[in-house]
């Protein structure tokens, strides 16, 4: 085949294409630990069924003891098994929080952005009120005083997270609502419910996905902060935050008791955050 105006096939390749096809570093680096943690969260009951059962005769063993790679805690529970089992409360709750608050965000955010008016005003005032205080403080006070265990804490955090989601979706909706395709849908006489859910929502999904990823990381930190303070987790239940506060008294005997869950928390939260950041940049979502 003759080449077009002397151009070889190599010249037709967009130079940006090569960069795009290269294996992206951040998603792979973050994906590996996340998949591992997710696997532990889903199958911890099968992987380490006896994690929460302590053996008082092997309490306070240092890391590297035979049969206990990271040693044991005050009541003889194996730190490695506890840390694997702790992935469950660390992941399940935050994922539910991110999904729940995004559901509220999508429903109310599109409504506020598209309809405006009183709904918009009330929702933005609610968000203003919640943003008037540090979120750690609100979460601690509300979850602590309600004091209803793990799922009540999840419910409280959904309510605390939803204003940010409403705001993000509202902003994204506002920027979409003036575009020609919405105008033409309106001219065609589609009902506003149909326009909102069939046309607007699909176009704000990128914003929703980024916000959700960042929310999972933030919820993970908030939930484990509460359990570090002794809230939201039943005593004896494996949880990274709880392990950290229990492990403090063992620092000079078995430092791994608090270092292992601490590092797991930092790595998991960071991996999710980097992934969210990477997706945000790739999808061109404005912060």
């Amino acid at each position: 085949m003759t080449s077009l105006a002397g151009l070889g096939p190599a010249d037709l390749v967009d130079p940006d294409d090569r960069a795009r096809r290269r294996v992206p570093l951040i998603p792979v680096l973050c994906g590996i630990p996340l998949v591992a943690v997710l696997f532990c969260a889903l199958f911890s009951g099968w992987l380490v069924p006896d994690a929460a059962k302590g053996d008082i005769y092997s309490a306070r063993l240092p890391a590297g003891s035979p049969g206990h790679l990271f040693g044991t805690d005050q009541v003889g529970r194996d730190i490695l098994q506890m840390s694997i089992a702790g992935a469950r409360t660390a992941i399940i709750g935050p994922v539910v929080i991110a999904l729940g608050s995004m559901l509220i965000g999508l429903l109310l955010g599109t409504l506020a952005g598209y309809r405006g008016g009183v709904v918009d005003l009330l929702l933005s005032k609610y968000a203003d009120l919640l943003l008037a205080l540090p979120s750690t403080l609100i979460a601690l006070v509300v979850a602590g005083l309600v004091d209803g265990g793990y799922w009540a804490t999840v419910a409280v955090l959904i309510l605390l997270f939803s204003p940010t989601d409403i705001r993000m979706i509202r902003g994204a909706t506002l920027s979409q609502a003036t575009r020609p395709y919405i105008e033409s849908a309106r001219v065609l006489g589609l009902s506003s419910r149909r326009i909102m859910f069939r046309h607007l929502v699909p176009n704000v999904l990128n914003v929703a996905l980024t916000t959700m990823l960042l929310n999972v990381a933030f919820a993970l930190v908030s939930m484990s902060a509460l359990s570090f303070l002794g809230l939201g987790i039943a005593p004896g239940q494996p949880d990274w935050g709880r392990q950290l506060s229990d492990g403090r008294d063992l620092l000079s005997i078995n430092a791994a008791a608090s270092i292992v869950p601490g590092v797991l928390l930092i790595v998991t939260a960071t991996a999710i955050n980097l992934l969210g950041d990477w997706w945000q940049e790739r999808a061109g979502v404005e912060a």
């Binding site: 403080l137 006070v141 005083l145 303070l229 950290l244 430092a255 608090s258 980097l274």
Partner: protein, 321 residues
């Protein structure tokens, strides 16, 4: 008076009214916390004391619990406005005295963390903006994501292990004696707080400086032949306005972070007091600290807005038009 200053006065009045309204709503919500707690409010307020009918009646009278909700709230608010924040259910100490006692340590911790934050974040943020897109910029930006996301109590525990147990550089627990010993005790917790905060201030600084560098006057100055150094100085001076004003809010929000860090390092400040008061359901103390924090943040935000008005003529123009 000219029309402009009338507009200015109106802006200030509206802004003041909004702050008062926000604080009123916040106080209402804070008062509602008492009723959010499961169980009889009177028994909750009594704490661990055995509830005999007389003391219960006394508590009900003291907190007007038999009256309708609105009147309870109004009498509570009147007390608060007169400086009466009630009594702690643990040991029957006045809440005001309890808080004043702890506030000093929290302020010292927050102040030290703030200084560390500025020392780390400002040079890095400015440097990264000047060399946007360079490997140094990207590395620091990734580090900032790590810093923002890492839970302070986990970072704190690692610092306790490395600085306190392994290297024995710092004491690992407690307040220390007032004076130098106290400040020495506060270094590791302040570093912990500063890591998360510096990441935030870094992002803020980088954005502000980048924003100025993109302005027309920078291009103009460069095309007039001003040196790189001179144009950067110009941009930097303008970028400092948003940075300095948002630092006020950053400082106010620092108090949220002190809760976890004080508990991690066993410090007896306001944050640790709040955490233990929540656990013990010591509602008057929880109400007082929450309200105090809301007031500090609202007043800081007000001060920031008014400072903006004073130092930036462009903002003044927008507010009055």
């Amino acid at each position: 008076m000219t029309g402009g200053s009338w507009g200015l006065a109106r802006f200030v009045v509206v802004r003041l009214a909004a702050t008062v309204a926000l604080l009123l709503v916040a106080s209402f919500v804070v008062f509602g916390l008492l009723h959010l707690t499961p169980g009889d409010p009177a028994r909750n307020l009594l704490g661990p004391r055995t509830p005999n009918p007389e003391t219960l009646a006394q508590i009900r009278a003291q907190y007007h619990l038999d009256e309708p909700f609105w009147q309870q709230y109004l009498s509570w608010l009147t007390g608060v406005l007169h400086g009466d924040l009630g009594h702690s259910i643990r040991g029957n100490v006045s809440v005001g005295a309890l808080i004043a006692d702890r506030a000093v340590l929290t302020l010292q911790l927050a102040g030290l963390a703030f200084v560390f934050t500025l020392l780390i974040a400002l040079p890095l943020g400015i440097g990264a903006a000047f060399r946007a897109g360079s490997p140094m910029d990207r590395t620091v930006s990734v580090l900032a994501v790590v810093g923002v996301g890492a839970p302070s109590f986990a970072v704190g525990m690692l610092l306790i292990y490395v600085l306190g147990v392994q290297w024995r550089l710092f004491p690992i627990y407690g307040n220390g004696d007032p004076g130098w010993d106290r400040w020495w005790h506060l270094v590791p917790p302040a570093i912990t707080l500063a890591i998360g905060l510096a990441a935030l201030v870094y992002k803020l600084t980088r954005t502000a400086v980048l924003n100025e560098l993109r302005q027309d006057y920078v291009t103009f100055a460069r095309s007039r032949g001003l040196s790189h150094r001179q144009t950067r100085q110009l941009a930097l001076r303008n970028a400092m306005i948003p940075i300095v004003t948002s630092l006020g809010l950053v400082f106010a929000f620092l108090f949220g972070g002190t809760i976890l860090v004080e508990v991690t390092f066993g410090l007896g400040g306001l944050g640790a007091l709040l955490a233990s008061s929540v656990t013990f359901k010591d509602i008057p103390v929880v109400q007082a600290i929450t309200l105090l924090t809301a007031a500090v943040i609202a007043l800081t935000a007000l001060a920031v807005d008014l400072t903006y008005l004073v130092i930036d003529p462009r903002v003044r123009q927008r507010a009055t038009s």
